[in-house]
Amino acid sequence: MTKWRTDRRGFLQTAGATLANLTLPANFAWAAEGETLRLRVTADFQVLDPKGIIGELDEIIPRCTQVTLVRLGDMRDGNTWQPWGAEKIDWIDPTKIAFTLREGLVWSNGFGPVTAEDVKYSFERIAHSDSAWAYQFEKLDHVEVIDARSGILHLSEAFAPFIIIALPYYGGNIVCKAAVEAAGGSYTTQAPAECGPYRFAAWEQNQKVTLTANPDWTGLKPAFSTVEFYIVGDDQAAQLAYEADAFDFTRLAVSATKQVTAAMPEGASLIQAQSTRYAWLTININAEPLKDLRVRQAIQYAYDSDAVLLGAYDGLAARSTGVVAPTSPFTRATNLIATRDVEKAKALLAEAGVSDLTLQLVALTDSTTQAIAQIIQASLAEAGITVEIQPTEDAAYWSLGDKTAGDGYKSLELVLMNFSGGIDPTENLVWFRPDQIGVNNWSFFDSPDFETLYQKGLVEQDESKRKAIFNQMEDLMESSGGFIFICFEPYIALHDSTLKPVILADGQPDPVMFTRV
């Protein structure tokens, strides 16, 4: 972002621009022409095809270069949605959603207008596929094409959250059928056709990605003509870089909050919000030393939540009662084991006939996770459980619980995990279904009751009944002994105070909706 210059040349430029602005017609929208928005991200992208995107930049780029039927607003404003690629989108009945695409949506590379056929292709290729986002379209039966711009989404059952779960992002990004089929049915780092407010302009691997405004975009013009993403993995380095004016927006480590609040960089604002990212301790029910429920419960009783929240999160987060966000009306009131009881833990171990128990705790190498791991190690030691921490790099970490990477996932013992959550509780609960064992369910939590309740929760329309269902599901999770819910992590970000950032429910910024205050 361009900084104000206070020298003579800067003054003349500013004065000239102001004079030019005053002479322009009142309705002329120059939309911060030439301005660049610089955002920091933690890792480079890998896949841009909505079917295979993983997170962060993988998702932020399609959010800018592809079109969706609807768009979500800021998570701090309640995640409200509005039509985006659709000029109209309405429920016809509880299982049918009619949509009409806006006129003037055109694919790049000469692939013509965006059609209802593209919508059908985009959604049906993900629904019931092996994509990580297939769950979003689990209730999609098929897409009926009415004409070039209109269609109906047919659901197999009534599913009220469909619009906010499936349509605004991830699998909801519409791709060009002709272009993707010409590319062989999928793509990785280069979209064969784009239609969004921005176009992919340049990529310096592991350093920077640049998007520039799409001249053919007929929708709401973004406030910035260029968006640059700077890839900086380390939060400390990012904070220093921000202070050196390397970018305009960066997330911060939770541990930096106090220091930043005490000495706010000039011209900066701090975002401190509740994120949808939930952290928990996975206790593998299937691992040999943990097969006895009493041993798992002993761990739950010995866990020192207060120490974790204070030591690792500076007291900025409260203990979570499950994977449903505490800001949600569906959140559970309390944990079943809400109070630490070391004596009870010892008694349970004695009852199970277990002594000299040593467990391996896998934890990512970032400072917050390592702090949590060491506090858990110390708190379990008080109950006589020895914990050996296995610091594991990101790349190796995700293959540990992957059943396609060998049998290692069966013998994992304790793992510190955190996922970015969604808006509807089902988006967070989905990862603990039986079919997710060896994928995302590393606890080996295999509950038919949970699955039944999940299916009920998807279609139940009554809010109080949904709450009861979700609470019961979290009770099942906790009473299995496979989980200790840690917290929903605080969202901390630093940005130029002349910006109004928009943060989506997944914790990622939406550069298209960033504006200048």
Binding site: S367, Q374, I389
Partner: protein, 285 residues
Amino acid sequence: MPWPTSPRALKALLADPMGAMGLVLVSLFVIMALAAPILAPYDPLALNVRAKLQGLSWAHWLGTDQLGRDTLSRLIFGARTALSISVTATGIAGAIGLLLGLIAGYGPRWLDAVLVLVLDSVNALPMMMLALAIITVIGPGTFTLILVVVLVSIPSYARLIRAQTLSLRRAEFILAERAIGASTPRILLRHLLPNVLGPLVIVLSMDIPVVIMLEAGLSYLNLGVKPPMPSWGNVLYDGYTSIRTSPTLVIAAGAPLVLATLGFTFLGEGLRDALDPRLASTRPR
């Protein structure tokens, strides 16, 4: 060459200001490591998150880390970690290098050729890359660190001993021993070994700080000793993560690393000068 602990060598070492300083620093670290449980004011593993990131105080002379552990106690026990890993690793590597060097230098030519080929091949591998590869395969930890250092260090020690042995095997006193029918083990153990050991001790002492830095570097990357075992590297990393709020932690963790490196380097150079007066006389005063 005199034996490193001979009174003459010790006198020469103490006469050299750098050597004497090195000896003092190293002695202090050794005492710190050996007497850690007595010297440390707190349990280095005891968490007290309510007292996290405290500054310098009478209660905590070097403050506390992000989990409220006493920094001074962790640094004192960190000396134990650093010295035990570096001394064990260089000791094992030195012993194996000595054996291989003697075999290569005194054994048949074909065996020498094979050993040199193997040693050169291992030596060609970049140390950090080899370390990271081994850690990836068997996981981080104290054993892994020692294994890495041993594997990486053997070639240079073996080559040093081989060169010394090759030059000594034609020496008159060795030829005389052979002429009177002395056995190979006797020649190796009674005559060659004492003569090649001095240079090896010097090299080992100069390599200890390298190993200390490697241990600290890998621990800093969370690839060294496992938490909560205190290590200068992981104390330094803890300091880095809170450098904006508590910079004393980084300074406190960096100081022993610098002093230990200087101490062992001065001691190594002092020993070299003391054991080889010809070198000392050529050094500018």
